[in-house]
């Protein structure tokens, strides 16, 4: 019972911090928007029949939008890791741990806060894509599934990054982890290009990369191209496994020092 109240209090704090730090929020939007606008537009000079043949759409931005939204959920990981490191550095974690609030409440609040921050990007990105001429279909169920996919992806990434940063009080660590992880995860998924382009070994990685699952679900919606429903199941399994690892690490290693 007290765990739920503690979770709610801590989650509320994370959400308030999102909108009180509007500048940081805008900066999180910038990266994926830059990708879809600049990178997306860079391929749009290709002959139209090539675009349709390779990407299934005459506007490459429509192809890369789901990939970038999926990739942008990696920022939830960096964010949750950052947030636990800061709480440790500024002593806030101590302040939480001298109360009877369970460690699980702290863990879940960080995950939920990061996922919320990640999802705020969705409408902004969709609006940017619309502005650049992507025709978004009206498919409410599809969008719900897409958002569910992004949520699961966010839960998975934020849990893993949180586990990695659980003992750290060095604010550089999350950024270093992000630098090492984020680009490879994007390039080895289908976020930018269809898997048919890839050599066999990269295809093998792309097929188990969770970013691919969320990308394909989104692409199914945007390009009106039906996808296998099991993708959502894979993502759920990824989220559950990451969360289990994160919780174990939190129980064992979330200490005041």
């Amino acid at each position: 019972m007290s765990g739920l109240g503690a979770f709610w209090g801590l989650y509320k704090r994370e959400v308030v911090k999102i909108y009180r730090r509007a500048f940081a929020l805008v900066m999180t939007f910038m990266q994926p928007i830059i990708w879809i606008i600049f990178f997306g537009s860079s391929l749009n000079g290709m002959p139209r029949e090539y675009l349709v043949q390779f990407f299934g759409t005459p506007n490459y931005i429509g192809f890369v939008l789901p990939g970038q939204l999926a990739t942008s959920m990696l920022s939830t990981g960096t964010f949750s890791a950052m947030s636990i490191v800061w709480d440790r550095r500024f002593g806030f974690l101590k302040k939480i741990l001298v109360t009877p609030a369970p460690r699980e409440a702290v863990f879940f609040s960080k995950v939920a806060g990061a996922v919320t921050r990640g999802l705020v990007q969705v409408p902004v990105m969709l609006a940017a894509a619309l502005a650049f001429g992507v025709a978004l279909p009206l498919d409410p169920v599809g969008y719900l599934e897409w958002i569910a996919a992004l949520m699961l992806l966010g839960i998975g990434f934020s849990s893993i990054y949180l586990a990695v940063a659980m003992r750290s009080s060095d604010w550089q660590h999350p950024q270093l982890v992000a630098n090492v992880m984020n680009l490879p995860l994007m390039f080895t998924s289908t976020a930018l290009f269809p898997r048919t382009f890839y050599p066999a070994w990269m295809r093998a990685i792309a097929d188990v990369n969770p970013i691919t699952f969320a990308t394909e679900i989104g692409r199914g919606v945007v390009l009106n191209d039906p996808y296998t429903p099991t993708l959502l199941g894979y993502l759920a399994a990824f989220a559950a496994a990451s969360m289990a690892i994160g919780l174990l690490v939190a129980r064992r290693f979330m200490t005041a020092e």
């Binding site: 019972m1 704090r13 911090k17 005041a256 020092e257």
Partner: protein, 324 residues
């Protein structure tokens, strides 16, 4: 277990090879203001960390509000408030939001009423809607104490409560600590390396150094343990000291190059007798030295508390030099 607020038995804490606490035993009665006085690294903060359940002891026992800190940490945590040496508040949140978070972490229902009462009491109600990042140091400290009192704890831990505060803010906080103790009926354990703070606030003080308690008692008891007060006279010419030495309250008389040092039990009461017992026209000046807790610390450890402190400015200057 008896009715003490805190009971600490032979507490030991080691971090790797470093012994932070080397067997500490003391107890704090309910309603008391108890001070742990000592230099940095003496083990004060480690003691608080163990008593608030933030870290387990290596060995020994500790009971807070009647509960074992190792076996019943949540029972302890529900009954204690903790104010760290550095103020820990969320600067992005306003006072209400900081209090609400604390309420939810402690499971306090109807927290708004209690929060309003505390904000009013601490004179923060007007500014409660502003993010606390814009508060002055004194306001932040007050809000942190209000936050720690929100769940009506039985015992409040104050870790170096006035470190980094200016003279006015310190005086304000001393008053506040006394009234919190009196009006809210909260037992207070505070740590400090300021002798005058321990002297002014605490009913009893434990002097702690290198993880050990060197002495424990009321400030008056501790000070009298070092052996009285000293009246120092500067004289122009030699005077006859025989009558002075016969005075009942005079413990010791030492004369050397134009000065006479008279050790007495209570200077204020003995000075008239001293004046009468010698040729006072030879006296140029009179000075009274009363022992402070620093005198006690010096007698016990051979060092002053401030000297045992790491001098950070010198330390950083040294690092800067070595970088060049």
């Amino acid at each position: 277990m008896n009715g003490n607020a805190i009971e600490v038995l032979d507490l030991v804490k080691r971090y790797g090879n470093v012994t932070a606490l080397a067997g500490v035993t003391f107890s704090v009665s309910r309603g008391e203001i108890f001070g742990l006085l000592g230099p940095n690294g003496a083990g004060k903060t480690t003691t608080i960390k163990i008593l608030t359940g933030l870290t387990p002891p290596t060995s020994g026992r500790a009971y807070v509000a009647g509960f074992d800190v190792v076996r019943q940490p949540n029972e302890v945590k529900r009954r204690v408030g903790w104010v760290s040496s550095e103020v820990i508040l969320d600067d992005d949140l306003n006072a209400w939001e900081n209090l609400e978070l604390q309420a939810r972490l402690q499971g306090v229902r109807n927290w708004r009423e209690r929060a309003t009462e505390l904000l009013k009491y601490f004179d923060l109600l007007q500014s409660a809607g502003r993010p606390v990042g814009g508060y002055s140091t004194g306001m932040r400290k007050k809000l942190e104490i209000a936050t720690a009192l929100l769940h009506s704890p039985e015992i409040l831990f104050l870790d170096e409560p006035t470190i980094g505060l200016d003279v006015n803010a310190r005086a304000m906080l001393w008053d506040l600590i006394r009234t919190v103790n009196r009006e809210f009926g909260v037992t207070i354990l505070l740590t400090t390396h300021y002798m005058e703070e321990a002297d002014a606030l605490c009913n009893r003080v434990a002097i702690i150094n290198l993880g050990k308690i060197m002495a424990l008692g009321s400030p008056a008891e501790l000070k009298s343990s070092v052996g009285g007060e000293v009246v120092e006279l500067e004289i122009e010419r030699p005077v006859d000291l025989s009558a002075l030495k016969r005075l009942p309250d005079v413990l010791d008389v030492a004369a050397s190059d134009g000065k006479i040092r008279i050790t007495v039990r209570k200077a204020d009461e003995t000075i008239p007798a001293i004046v009468k017992s010698l040729d006072f026209s030879a006296v140029k000046s009179l000075r009274v030295e009363k022992p402070t807790l620093d005198t006690v610390f010096m007698k016990l450890t051979g060092k002053r508390i401030e000297e045992s402190h790491v001098d950070y400015r010198r330390f950083y200057a040294m690092i800067r030099r070595s970088r060049r």
